[in-house]
Symmetry: C2
Subunit: 331 residues, 2 copies
């Protein structure tokens, strides 16, 4: 890359003073950025890389790509109940395309501004296209939402409408019969390409949820992480699953596959004591976000999928768990 190309990239990503959130004591441009977490706060840190051809196609709208690259990282902060603070960006570019980079930066920085998360450092390299990020957020000591806190008797909840991203992916792959309407395609494609990280939900779940995770690898697969870490089991009830309007008219098997093992969803799966149902309902109201109770945590290890029987004392017919993991889904 030439000096002029580096300056171009800088101009898109490193804004002038007065623009965007200012969270750093020392901003980008020194050997390190310096941030000062609020007194007594702990720092939640997560890192993710998106590689062309694996996590996105070269044809994707660059503004959506920029949005998503940050969104998947903010989603990890949300799953911890952390308030976004700052992030670093490692950009590897095969070439410098001004229009593409400008759109990427806009999509990324618009989402960053929305969450008051400052871009504090970065590194741009020539090479095969990938976007790496490390995000940092603040959380009061002991209040981070972990995977390990689920207790027998807790309710199991999920936000939003999992499965839409997978539906769009299958539409791209041409495997859907019937295919999607234009409207359904655009809506589910938006869910896939520009997911909304559930940051406000994560903050609201501090002190309410006992465990949380984002379901980027598929609802049941990620539930498995909570179960292993918390040393508990669970029942998930098919009739209680939230069905996206774009999935509603489709075959039941397809609905279940997308919702339970779709992957690339940035919704939160969380557990909370029964006594917290009013608090969860109040959160759903205040956020205008669907929160669905889809099962319960049990002392008996393992995962049970039933058609009905959401409430204690009820147990509908068991269904074989064919949703082992996202990667093996549909062989």
């Amino acid at each position: 890359m030439s000096l002029g190309e580096f300056e171009l990239i800088e101009s898109f990503f490193w804004r002038r003073p007065g623009q965007g959130p200012r969270r750093a004591v020392v901003g980008n441009g020194d050997d390190c950025a310096v941030i000062a977490p609020a007194p007594g706060m702990q720092l939640a840190v997560s890192t993710d890389t998106m590689v062309e051809g694996r996590h996105f196609l070269s044809t994707v709208d660059p503004a959506r790509l920029g949005h998503k690259a940050l969104a998947v990282n903010l989603s990890d902060l949300a799953a911890c109940g952390a308030q976004p603070l700052a992030f670093t960006l490692a950009l590897t570019l095969p070439r410098v395309d001004e229009a593409w980079l400008s759109a990427l930066a806009r999509g990324l920085l618009d989402l960053a501004d929305e969450h008051e998360c400052e871009l504090i450092g970065g590194d741009t390299t020539a090479g095969p296209l990938s976007i790496g990020m490390t995000v940092m957020g603040e959380v009061p000591p002991g209040q981070a939402l972990l995977r390990s806190g689920a207790q027998p008797g807790d309710d199991l909840w999920v936000s939003g409408h999992p499965g839409e991203a997978r539906l769009a992916l299958e539409a791209f792959r041409g495997t859907l019969h019937p295919g999607l309407s234009g409207e359904a395609f655009e809506a589910t494609r938006l869910a896939m390409e520009a997911p909304d990280p559930r940051v406000a939900l994560g903050l609201g779940l501090r002190g309410v949820a006992t465990a949380a995770i984002d379901i980027s690898d598929g609802l049941l697969g990620d539930l498995g992480h909570i179960l292993r870490r918390s040393r508990v089991g669970a029942t998930v009830v098919l009739d209680a699953l939230p069905v996206s309007p774009w999935l509603a008219g489709r075959a039941v098997v397809e609905q279940q596959d997308c919702i339970l093992a779709g992957g690339d969803d940035y919704e939160l799966l969380f557990t909370a004591p029964v006594a917290q149902r009013p608090a969860v309902a109040a959160l759903a109201d205040s956020l205008g976000l669907l929160l669905s109770r889809i099962g319960r945590i049990e002392a008996d290890p393992g995962l049970r999928v039933r058609v009905t029987g959401l409430d204690e004392g009820h147990a509908g017919p068991l269904v074989p768990n064919r949703w082992v993991s996202f990667d093996h889904f549909r062989g």
Copy 2:
């Protein structure tokens, strides 16, 4: 990558409890890691990506590659005067080669252990080989070494023997006449492939230096960053430059080119008031590290290179600055 391959990678990088430094409140394995900076401390953050073919060759010893990937990031913390705390690792791998990965992890984690810097999170992806890292370190409020603090009258210092990495690179490129002896090649190659980050020096320079930077882009190029940020000028004196024993017998022009514009050196360039000379000498002694006074900061903007005249009131003949930047060096 298969599940088994992921587990293999995990086994190399994510150690069992009891091994390696433990700096995190919540370690790897949740959505986020959680770290707790010591009360009142600020956090210095830096990120760097190394891409195969650009920053390293596929033939490099993987243990040295692992060492260097962390070393270049620790060098940024050193240049800020920050104590290493933790880092994240974003690994993109075209294939899973057990011996190679095991050596990479060993080189990386040995250096991490040496500096008590904990690997707290990461992401492994299939794709073209690259190694991305974000390091975090602690620094007391207001004590970070910045590029912006140099004052007219300050001395200009450099650590170690800059230029060795460039000498090794030119040996690899076959441009050296005469070539290097086997011993010189191995020694300079070590400087290039497994540099020592000057972490202890950075910590010792808190309260002593007024500005600091690492000279990974070449001594004069990086000095330019200090001059611009500090709004000052400088004189650099050729006769005062530290000449590596491996450069000593070579043409003077080659020596100067390697030392002043070699690049890929992880030495620190710093400025300090004249009154701090005893403190700098004491640091050199206690660290067993060469610290050379190579010039001075002046109010007059711009960079002047002179053959002699290190001390105030002396001014040897001016030399045209042919070392504009690392990238343009030897056009």
